[in-house]
């Protein structure tokens, strides 16, 4: 059987299909990805850990299971969704290093977790393993997922495969770069204020942030608990739907997960009908603002025209509190982070500073030396926003504005099915360009902060290029209406060719 592409270029759904048919083996596939990693890593640095030996061992076992299944005809991998077979049997997975993987070093990109080896898997990892996937490596994030460029990693910056002098976005920049460079088949990232969608936009890949409560965070190193979500980072929309189907659902160990069953998100993508007749697409005017690159605006306007050509009704809408999302986010997220990061004291895990003095001197020194500049900045900002005398003025005020931001979306979704915008106001920027100006860096997230505050799902997918640099289209939906969002995203993707372009990494 002829395989249409190089093995490492395969998507998860296509790889799973070829594995089921016996056209390829998991060992071949895993080997191809590992070779690609060896070839690209000197330029990209997407990975912090590559579990080559373990991955090949598990690939071998998957091949045995696949062979058995073919013999008996009783195939474990023909259905989708957790608990109903193994749809990803034999497919390697690439995981952001803030998600706990049993027995495999997990650093969250921080020196304060250097050599930390989790004793259990995150729920999302359990589910992916139950679906047949095996780990191939852990990817570079901004430290504790705080950043928009991976420049805040304690282990070096990741380079954008489309231009090695530019950032891949962040904080899930390693995962995004790995997908863009075919150094992996599919990945998981985390998104607190855009950390899945913004890097997807900057690397011409797909990043999906699910509704808050849709996916368990148990075993995910916490940043801001009222905002954190885990999301698929993939090479196409179909994979995002497949991976979401596997990881979504209630988890008794995460009380913020909702108790409604997760649908099979692939169902709506089976039709082969790309028409969007009757779909009401809202264009929020506040997402076309000063400071947005002209080429980004042109690209998004073209994408909207394309959706209209597929039959969608385009409506101008307003989300009047959009400009307040950034200050709201940068008070609430650091406040929650300052509480979540209190646990890093060098007592239970992580390196401990060896200094003279009492237990508090040791803790202060451990934290002062273990955390990088951005994490310290956010702990300080959050501590201040929560401190006596300032709580009402900053933290409580921001929580009230969060209500207004959420209300904007509720009202917009009374009029339209989905909203569309850019995922990033600018194409990938140069490494170092914003590194010394935190506020400028925060503005890189300006289009991806309001959705987490409102708890709604959003996806970024390839929508074009400016001078060879990727631009992503963001599609948002009402909470727990991922199907609508995926339907529009799939129709757009299948009638455009942006997702088929690959960066040229030679030379």
């Amino acid at each position: 059987m002829a395989i249409e592409t190089r093995l490492e270029q395969l998507t998860a759904h296509r790889a799973a299909e070829l594995l089921r048919q016996g056209a390829i083996s998991s060992v071949e596939l895993t080997h191809a990805v590992l070779e690609r990693i060896t070839q690209c890593e000197p330029k990209i640095h997407a990975y912090l850990t590559v579990t080559a030996e373990l991955a090949l061992e598990q690939a071998k076992r998957a091949d045995e299971q696949l062979a058995d299944a073919r013999k008996t005809g009783d195939h474990p991998s023909h259905t989708f969704g957790t608990g109903f077979g193994a749809p990803l049997l034999g497919v390697p997975m690439t995981i952001k290093d803030v998600i706990s993987t049993q027995g495999v070093t997990t650093t969250a990109g921080s020196r304060i977790l250097e050599n930390f080896v989790p004793v259990y898997d995150a729920t999302v990892i359990e589910k992916l393993k139950a679906a047949g996937a095996h780990l191939i490596g852990k990817t570079n994030p901004d430290e504790f997922a705080m950043g928009s460029s991976t420049e805040n990693s304690g282990y070096g910056v990741t380079h954008n495969p489309w231009d090695l002098e530019r950032v891949p976005g962040g904080s899930s920049g390693g995962s995004a770069a790995a997908m863009a460079a075919d150094e992996g088949v599919f990945s998981l990232g985390t998104d607190t204020g855009g950390s899945v969608r913004q890097p997807a936009s900057l690397t011409s890949t797909v990043g999906l942030r699910p509704s808050y409560g849709r996916v368990s965070r148990w075993g995910v190193i916490a940043f801001a608990s009222s905002l954190d979500q885990v999301g698929p980072m993939t090479k196409d929309v179909r994979d995002a739907a497949l991976i979401l189907s596997v990881i979504a659902g209630h988890d008794a160990r995460d009380s913020t997960t909702v108790n409604t069953p997760a649908p099979n998100y692939l169902m709506g993508l089976e039709t082969g009908d790309w028409r969007l007749d009757g779909m009401r697409v809202g264009v929020p005017r506040e997402y076309f603002v000063e400071g947005m690159a002209r080429e980004v605006e042109v690209t998004i306007r073209n994408a909207i025209a394309h959706l209209e050509s597929l039959g969608a009704e385009i409506h101008a809408v307003s989300l009047p509190h959009t400009e307040y999302a950034l200050p709201t986010y940068y008070l609430l997220a650091p406040a929650e982070a300052s509480a979540n990061l209190a646990r890093y004291d060098g007592v239970k895990y992580g390196p401990r500073a060896d200094v003279a003095g009492d237990v508090w001197d040791v803790i202060r020194a451990t934290r002062g030396r273990g955390f990088g500049p951005e994490v310290k900045r956010r702990i300080m900002l959050g501590t201040y926003a929560l401190s006596a005398g300032y709580y009402d003025a900053y933290y409580l005020k921001a929580q009230k504005v969060r209500t207004l931001i959420k209300r904007d979306f509720d009202q917009a979704f009374d009029q339209v099915d989905v909203l569309v915008s850019a995922a990033s106001p600018v194409p990938p920027f140069r490494i170092g360009e914003k590194a010394d100006d935190p506020l400028q860096m925060y503005l890189a997230d300006v289009f991806t902060l309001a959705q987490p505050l409102a708890g709604i799902p959003a996806i970024s997918l390839p929508a074009g290029f400016s001078d060879g640099l990727p631009i992503g289209l963001q599609i948002m939906a009402r909470a727990f209406e991922e199907e609508k969002m995926l339907h529009v995203a799939y129709a757009y993707e299948q009638t455009t060719e942006w997702h088929e372009r690959k960066p040229n990494l030679r030379g």
């Binding site: 080896v117 310290k376 900045r377 300080m380 005020k397 009230k400």
Partner: protein
């Protein structure tokens, strides 16, 4: 809002963060900038608005009070930088005076 170096040092003590003089200087400037930006929230009248702490309706999620297996002592201590000689306890500097 402009933060003084002394205020920043006070916050650092609340957060149990050792910071160098250069870091204190830099943070005083950067935090002041960020807080000044955040002041724009005061353009909004929120007197009648309830705060949102969480976007989901789940409240007081309960589970049956049943003992279930947990991590072993060895697992819990596996990543600890210091334990006692028998690997039974985490070890830190004395926290109580004689």
């Amino acid at each position: 809002m402009s933060l003084t170096r002394e205020q920043v040092a006070h916050i650092a003590e609340l957060a149990k963060l050792e910071l160098s003089d250069a870091e204190l200087e830099r943070l005083a400037r950067q935090l002041s900038d960020i807080l000044e930006y955040a002041e724009r929230l005061n353009q909004l009248d929120t007197a009648a608005i309830a705060p949102t702490a969480s976007v989901i309706p789940n409240q007081n999620v309960m589970r049956p009070d049943i003992v279930t297996p947990s991590l072993s002592r060895a697992q819990v201590l596996q990543n600890a930088p210091d334990t006692d000689a028998n690997h039974e306890f985490l070890r830190v500097r004395a926290i109580l005076e004689e």
